[in-house]
């Protein structure tokens, strides 16, 4: 079933358009940076953007930082929100279920296919970032391009950089799993993909808003976006695992709860679409 879902995803023109959009933004930023050489002021703008001016190698990570807060979650919410509600709206859900496909298996297959999409998207963004960074921003002395400075000021070997970039890719992809599960849950409640997508985005915006609120301090560790930006911790020396660990754990808890709720709702839902 997972293979079937992946084939559906791969044959949708929208999937590719979304990936293209995701790649376009960091590329635009790289071009602008290369032309103007104006980095963001300290404390403002996405992480690593000032660093890439002196070393293009890190642009793959900077590209992740650019798409992470908004573009990536929107893309995930669109794809995941469409998963069940889209089939319901098109009427194909009833044929899937009488084929038959077990409802719980359909849910898992949908979630997995969304996650594969996320992984492809993140790898693609990082890859594009790497190439674009090398081409546009890599025109620096050779010594600087072989050694990357960690956030803590030490020097990272190319192997370390590659390894940590891989970890960051994995972490960013995993960070999206909560959004995906939320959109999937909402997608089982409604027959309109748009409502599911918007609901998931509202959930994210709410979370981001609460994060900035001092009164909601106590809630912060439970908010899905709390540890999103912690992938920068992978580039400290030594790596600061604390928030990364919590981020991973939190996402897994969200998936367990939301997928559980999706199962509870969808398994015994009347399919009237």
């Amino acid at each position: 079933m997972i293979a079937v879902e992946l084939r559906k995803l791969a044959r949708r023109p929208r999937t590719w358009a979304t990936l293209l959009m995701l790649d376009l933004l960091p590329t635009t930023v790289a071009v602008l940076l290369a032309v103007t050489h104006l980095g963001p002021r300290p404390g403002q703008g996405p992480a690593f953007l000032s660093a890439v001016l002196s070393n293009g190698t890190l642009f793959s990570v900077a590209a992740l930082a650019i798409v992470l807060p908004l573009f990536l979650p929107v893309a995930v919410a669109v794809i995941a929100g469409d998963s069940i509600a889209g089939e319901a709206q098109a009427g194909t859900l009833r044929y899937l279920l009488t084929r038959p496909v077990a409802r719980s298996r359909l849910l898992v297959a949908k979630l997995v296919s969304v996650l594969v999409f996320v992984l492809v998207a993140v790898v693609l963004v990082a890859g594009t970032g790497f190439v674009v960074g090398k081409l546009l921003l890599g025109g620096q002395p050779l010594t600087a391009s072989t050694a990357v400075t960690s956030v803590s000021g030490s020097t990272l070997t190319p192997v370390q950089v590659a390894l940590r970039t891989l970890l960051a890719i994995g972490y960013v992809a995993l960070s999206m799993i909560g959004v995906a599960a939320m959109a999937l849950l909402l997608s089982t409640f409604t027959d309109s993909p748009l409502s599911a997508t918007l609901g998931a985005l509202a959930f994210l915006i709410g979370s981001s808003l609460l994060l900035t609120l001092d009164a909601a301090r106590g809630l912060a560790p439970y908010l899905p976006t709390r540890y999103w930006l912690s992938f920068i911790d992978l580039f400290r020396d030594p790596i600061l695992w604390r928030n990364v660990e919590r981020g991973v754990l939190l996402q897994l808890v969200y998936v367990a709860v939301l997928l559980g709720a999706a199962w509870a709702n969808f398994s015994s839902k009347d399919i009237t679409s």
Binding site: K8, T92, R94, Y95, L97, A102
Partner: protein, 298 residues
């Protein structure tokens, strides 16, 4: 093949299906007749496990639904409330996905089966055209093709001829009857009396959620004990059939007669010219109107 007992569905305050006991036997072409909104589609969805009954049970191919669905649904072809397909894909790609979602079984024969069903429903020439460019009738044929993909023992078809032109309706009817000849049981829900009358061997009639009729079509269309006689001399006939004529309409007489042959012999013997003599049968429409409650049907 399908057996329900006390099947009931309530949506909030509305009683959509009220304790129906369906019985579809192997080899039947079962016509499930009812006006729009009478609960046909809800019943079909409950039979297929899409909607859960409020009370009552469904048995499909001997298995309780929805629990046994994974065992029996692969042997059932379905068309529920209109066909549906992924608009950006071709007919062939849609059938491919549809079949693959049932699991890896039958993979080796998939291509051949797709060719077969596309040929059967008359969509063989559509090639790579995306479904969104299809007409309503073509989509309906594609839905039917999907239902036929797994060579099912039972076809559950909800309004299968929706959107088809008369020529298409005849093609589909012939296709279904051919399938039935080859051993498939067909459960066909429709709001069209004539469609059911032309195709079905058994009929169930749903009226506002209640099953008011369920019988062999032949039994329903029983002789009324009357014959219709056409004669160019109705006055002579009236004289001969003193008191047995129930209704006169120009040259057409409705005569109470248990034996049409004896009636014919009687008339001809008395020199009354008989142009036409038919033993009267009840129509399905009469049955439905008789058994349904009067009043508007929502």
């Amino acid at each position: 093949m399908i057996r329900t007992a006390g099947l009931t569905k309530r949506f909030g305050e509305v009683l959509a299906v009220d304790s129906i006991d369906l019985d579809v036997r192997p080899g039947d072409v079962y016509g499930f007749l009812g006006a729009n909104g009478s609960g046909k589609t809800t019943s079909v969805r409950m039979i297929l496990g899409l909607v859960l009954p409020t009370s009552g049970t469904v048995e499909l191919l001997g298995q309780p639904m929805p629990r046994g669905g994974h065992r029996v649904l692969p042997r059932v072809g379905t068309l529920v409330e209109g066909a549906a397909a992924y608009g950006h894909l071709s007919a062939r790609a849609n059938l491919n996905l549809h079949d693959a979602s049932g699991g890896p079984a039958g993979r080796s024969t998939r291509r051949r089966r797709i060719d077969d069903v596309l040929e059967q429903v008359g969509l063989a020439g559509t090639g790579r055209r995306p479904v969104k460019a299809f007409s309503l009738g073509m989509r309906q044929r594609l839905g039917l093709a999907a239902a036929l993909m797994s060579q099912p023992e039972l076809l559950v078809l909800d309004e299968p001829t929706n959107g088809l032109d008369p020529q298409g309706i005849r093609e589909i009817r012939e296709l279904l009857l051919r399938l039935n000849d080859n051993g498939a049981t067909i459960f066909l829900s429709s709001h069209l009396l004539t469609e059911v009358e032309q195709m079905c061997t058994r009929v169930g009639v749903l009226d506002r959620g209640r099953l008011v009729v369920q019988d062999e079509l032949a039994n329903l269309q029983a002789l009324t004990g009357r014959s219709v006689v056409h004669t160019s001399e109705p006055a002579a006939a009236l004289a001969v059939l003193d008191g047995r004529v129930e209704k006169r309409d120009g040259e057409r007489l409705v005569v109470r007669a248990d034996d049409p042959a004896a009636l014919n012999a009687l008339l001809v013997g008395r020199g009354v010219p008989v142009h036409e003599l038919v033993a009267e049968r009840r129509t399905l429409e009469q049955v439905v109107l008789e058994r349904s409650e009067p009043g508007p049907v929502g």
